[in-house]
Symmetry: C4
Subunit: 328 residues, 4 copies
């Protein structure tokens, strides 16, 4: 089959950290958010999960609910203990008659202890209750310390805040075609020394087995000194490009995947930031070109970057390229 | 026009992250504080603003006012809630007669809860008020955690603390001229492995369109091992320099912009720090040279760096350079 | 002796930071956890120990016990002081009759002060007791600050979370043999730009003295762009390899040690992480090869990495390699 | 004079960040602790001092006293305010008769508010006192946040913990001499990828002016992969060395200064650490060699590094080197 012969002269690489054996790998390799499409097994979950990092990367709303849940759960736990060891040792309260009122008094006393607010209107008396309250306030302080660390960690976690175009385009470029994707930072951060790296993964048949082949894609510009506006990554599909030898149909058959890694220095964080993403063949638009996404302000004093236009493109006629392959 | 011909042999670069199309870019490219002169649009403000980083970079006084405002606002909010749900559930207070006095009691109780000081002279009673107080003290702890993170972030944010001379000078240098600017660290920090990079932006006419051209400017010394005293960046205007081909008048017409990036290792932070700035043609002083800004202490035992002399220069006669262009 | 002659043409290195004099060095050089097998002496322990880092690297359970112990100790200390300076100045309590009850009241008051919960049911009165409580609450706040820092430090300490195969294998490879070891990340973290470096240490006789010789071992692949699945480090034992010239017996006699250093960028921490380990000749399995440790999920949509199979290998017949040396 | 001629063929460098003009520089360039021997002037002290970094680098004892002083000062300040606005609004106290007792009650109330312990035995009443207490508790929380940040910053500040030999030796080496200095880490930290850089500064006469010349000194080994034991930096004084051309007397006259910079990766901090030091001609010992500073443990299972022997050396006869210059 032609695909196989064409590929022979191309140099594939084996330093991607993924294996070449397609038959035991499942689905796409990298998820759109840049994580590997992989599950780990064989050691207990608490050893293979990093609780801290899970909480760090959790969405804002989910994190809020988690905090509220934790607070309620710990207070319920201690309220039960105070209730069981004798709520009468919590002196000073309203002294409600019902069990529910007594339990709630224990619950609120617990919350006052955990947060160290300690009004003292209700206060512990006796050895046992005092001991429990003493432990609870220590736990409160430790939870607080953990919260402080988590919240600081969430805020200060270096991120590139890059927005990628949802589509990859096959656009006319010079005398041929190029694969293009576009990106921009969507926050008020400054990236400098920005490097891009694109790896193509193809699942091809070789000696009756399906193997995964990886190819680095050369970029017209793979490093820029500063990312102020948007940046369009351009891979010119020349004869040296692996894509030159595939038709649109073949690209689909090989379940093409384009993995993108961006590395930059962010002076918000004074740190290196990295963001990865991945496109599959389903996201390729054949025969289109990106339209500008920035314009001059009306008063002429600054430039406006329109982030909602990140994927703004128009279809172009690619008929003059008689060759049916994706490239040339 | 001569400008265009002269420029032909110079190599301009397109890896600056700014676009070449002057007609849609507005004003200067980089602000004096090093940020890009750019606004983003098309996604909601809370997604394109990093609240954390805005608070991190806010001036000290403004940050203090923000904290005071936040504290008052949250307390007012909870005071309203306590007031509406029945201030009589806050037992123990002075029991002022007027609504205002009652509201203030709720306000102060709120502040005692939020800061977890919880004197308890005024304390909540009843399910509803206890629940609100319980939530408020949690919020207090979380706000406190955020404050701790913010304040630590503000202190520990790696910065180069570089002071740049407000002017760029065109000074006599060797047999010709040089573009010079001066910098020094103004805090008690030590920078090592300091690298400087200067990019020149010119807005020139090309085929009836104004395009922005970027040129890297070669420096006599672009890297020093340690920045103890001041450092003068010197770009010798030789025939290879883009500035060689422009007269003073033309520099103004092309709205010249000089973008400076300094990168160094700071052993205060044990981190890479970066600082950027930008000069426009209005800041160029033609025919001047910097005067020394350090001297020996009277007792001869240390050196004194006089930071107020960062821009200290004297005018020099440049008449012997008959050529009217900026360069030789 | 043959060993010595063979070695002559190999280039050993002296930049490992370990000395060449085997007779004064003891035991293995690097421990399995990557620390140097070394004790320091000659300066007081508090100067040569980093308390912070010891607490940072302490196991979770041990750290919890340490916190509990510290809390109890500080409270006991202050309880003694309150008791000695007159427990009657702690007004409001249950006023237990026995010394023990009085002491415990002081103890619980101390814990309420240290955690700043301060119910106020028991409160200090008089100059001396007030002063002590005032100092204790300051100490409480400082301990709290230290705890927050420690807990944040423990969470956010950049680590590679690498799992190494407990054994090194001598496997068939190409026309000869190779030394192989395997690794994988066991948490949900992503390593990129992963570099491996292996150094071989041999204790050999030279002019009647035993000296330690260090050799870098060439790897088939010493850098990968991303570590998604497992990575097998392969050192092909060619004629250029120091191992080529040793028999199994000689390897034991030279007390071979294989030191492994992995350096990578972790985008959890946006930081460089490093992990080291070391194998001795006792961990070498002669004639075996690793078996796959990942498979496709049943639904075909992701890959499963089985961490308990990190050391999964089968013995292979190495008889065709007639040469008795470790290498081909 | 011979010194000047000899120097001609040596290449001095001007990228050290220090100026060449000796007559306006004072004393040594770099202090033993690695900071520049430099004072800054011309801008207000609060702009040129980094309070955070000063507190970060302050000795442990001094920092403790600073915290105690700050705590007392803030409490005194607020005690005065409570006293002046009417101490009778602090209800509940012992109600001491004397002014002093009243003031102290205000002082202790202040400390209970600042630390948020808030027993409530003494509690504020009335608008004004409540407002002040509300502000104070906010300030308390902010100071606490600052303390947490400072203490974490102090603990987590990346440092190399390097101990340098107090002396530089001129030792016999190969067929000639070498300048040697020794270092070791004194904490339980692991340094990898350690790089050393030595710069020699000489104040020499040139055309009737004294100028400072800087020379990089070549090292036998300038980079090691890991610093486990001690490391001796060796500069072989060959004909290419600037020191080759100076006699002992001339070294003193030129007020020789040897500036040392060590850069390494520390896996405690997972960060690059840097330490600098400087030696003057007074610290040079002519004709001596370092003695070993580590030995095998009695049980043979680990190595002992004796830190008190960092400067351990014995004098050696250098008479065979007839040449009177420092070098060969």
């Amino acid at each position: 089959m032609a695909i196989h012969n064409n590929r022979q002269r191309l140099k594939d690489i084996d330093n991607t950290g993924f294996g070449p054996n397609s038959s035991i790998e499942g689905g796409r390799l990298v998820n759109p958010d840049g994580t590997s499409n992989l599950r780990k097994r064989g050691i207990p979950i608490w050893e293979r999960m990093s609780v801290y990092h899970t909480l760090l990367r959790m969405g804002r709303r989910k994190f809020g609910l988690f905090v509220l849940f934790l607070y309620t759960a710990v207070n319920l736990f201690f309220a039960c203990i105070y209730f069981l060891t004798g709520v009468e040792h919590l002196v000073g309260g309203d002294g409600g008659a019902s069990y529910f009122e007594k339990f709630m008094e224990a619950f609120f006393f617990s919350s006052q202890t955990l947060t160290t607010v300690g009004y003292g209107r209700v206060a512990p008396s006796g050895m046992l209750t005092n001991s429990i309250a003493s432990i609870e306030s220590l736990i409160g302080i430790l939870i607080f310390a953990i919260m402080t660390g988590l919240i600081y960690g969430r805020f200060s976690r270096p991120r590139a805040y890059l927005l990628f175009s949802p589509n990859i385009l096959i656009s006319p470029f010079k005398d041929g075609k190029a694969l293009m994707l576009r990106m921009a930072t969507y926050k008020n951060n400054n990236l400098t020394d920005v490097e891009a790296q694109i790896t193509l993964a193809l699942h091809v048949k070789e000696h009756d087995r399906t193997v995964t082949k990886f190819y680095p894609l050369d970029l017209e510009l793979s490093k820029i000194t500063s990312l102020a506006l948007n940046w369009t990554l351009v891979h010119h599909i020349t004869e040296d490009s692996p894509l030159f030898h595939y038709t649109k149909q073949q690209v689909m058959e090989t379940r093409m995947e384009v993995m993108v890694t961006i590395k930059a220095f962010d002076d918000h964080f004074s740190n290196v930031v990295q963001q990865r993403t991945s496109y599959t063949w389903k996201q390729v638009v054949y025969g289109a070109k990106f339209l500008p996404m920035f314009e001059r302000a009306d008063n002429g004093e600054y430039t406006i970057l329109e982030l909602d236009k990140i994927n703004h493109h128009e279809l172009v006629n690619m008929d003059q390229y008689q060759n049916k392959t994706v490239g040339a």
